[in-house]
Symmetry: C5
């Protein structure tokens, strides 16, 4: 999992059927000092995150299990999902 900040969203009408209905958020990875690291990605939101929220993001097969759909959806193309909103960084 990595930490990221939600900085926007993308609109895409011509897309894979499995992405229909998903909120596609632009996330910028951050470190625990909230400094930007690595590079932006697009993640499907499943915890009602909003712009400005610091979040937890998973990638790969784990990302396809987070959409409130315990069974692994054979047709889901998504590989990046927001799975938590960070309340606090304890260091």
């Amino acid at each position: 999992m990595y930490m990221a900040k939600v900085i926007g969203s993308v609109v895409s009408t011509q897309k894979d059927p499995s992405l229909v209905g998903k909120k596609l958020m632009i996330v910028r990875p951050i470190d625990s000092d909230k400094q930007p690291i690595r590079f932006e990605q697009v993640a499907a939101d499943t915890v009602n995150a909003g712009i400005g929220d610091n979040v937890l993001v998973v990638r790969g097969a784990g990302a396809r299990r987070a959409d409130g759909n315990a069974a692994q959806n054979a047709a889901d193309v998504n590989d990046c999902t927001i799975v938590g909103i960070i309340d606090r960084f304890d260091k």
Copy 2:
């Protein structure tokens, strides 16, 4: 998922059977300001993207589910697929 711009395509006649018939596009990852990031890759197109389009790209197992073929194709080698055309970046 990452954002990318379609900048070309590759022609390959001597290739794995599972790649036959796929449009192999050269994609350059971008951030939400449309600036290039990371490095170019080749992605199979499944949403009729053209050169100059900004697109959504998935990698790994998700890439093998996007070819309009819900069942996971046991012989498909593809690991990178264009799954959406970006209409708008909202920030």
Copy 3:
């Protein structure tokens, strides 16, 4: 697997059900001279690691097998887990 130092933890109440009950630790990858490399991530702890410990971290499907749950948990979103505490680096 990579080597990392545990530098803190994150608190997240609004998260995927499969993350409930997991200790979410902030880990900073290190090399064998204990120098920081790459970028911070969040890993679920399964070996009782504490802040300051040097640890072994796995990612991807392997991360979902470490939570003392041999059967692959179909709904587990986690993709990063602490699987060992490093006692010594022998070089």
Copy 4:
């Protein structure tokens, strides 16, 4: 998939049984201007690529499906395979 140039091969006699008989080529990733990017890897060849060829390389599970063996080989350790020879870059 990424683009790469074949620059050599490695010889390894003490190796995993599933690698026996595979041509292990050294590949250097390139961009569509044929400039080197990222870092060298070793890929199993399945399309008769030779030194100097520009090729398409896949990684992860897709790499294990390219060895002319449609069924996913449960014991195959390979995670990187040459799946096409690039004839032309169209930009």
Copy 5:
């Protein structure tokens, strides 16, 4: 697969049960000129590699198939394995 040099090992007593009995080696990725690239990782050895050997390393699911255990071990957390000792780089 990537090329790497074995530069040491780690000792870990408090670890996931599936790592017990595995030789955990510190590997530093190299290119075909034996120059260090990327960053150190820890890999389970399955071919009797020793410190100073140049080796082939796989990651992800492939790494869990190399431990002489053709059936995919459902509880194995390892995601990085040494699968060959390099005798020669031919360029």
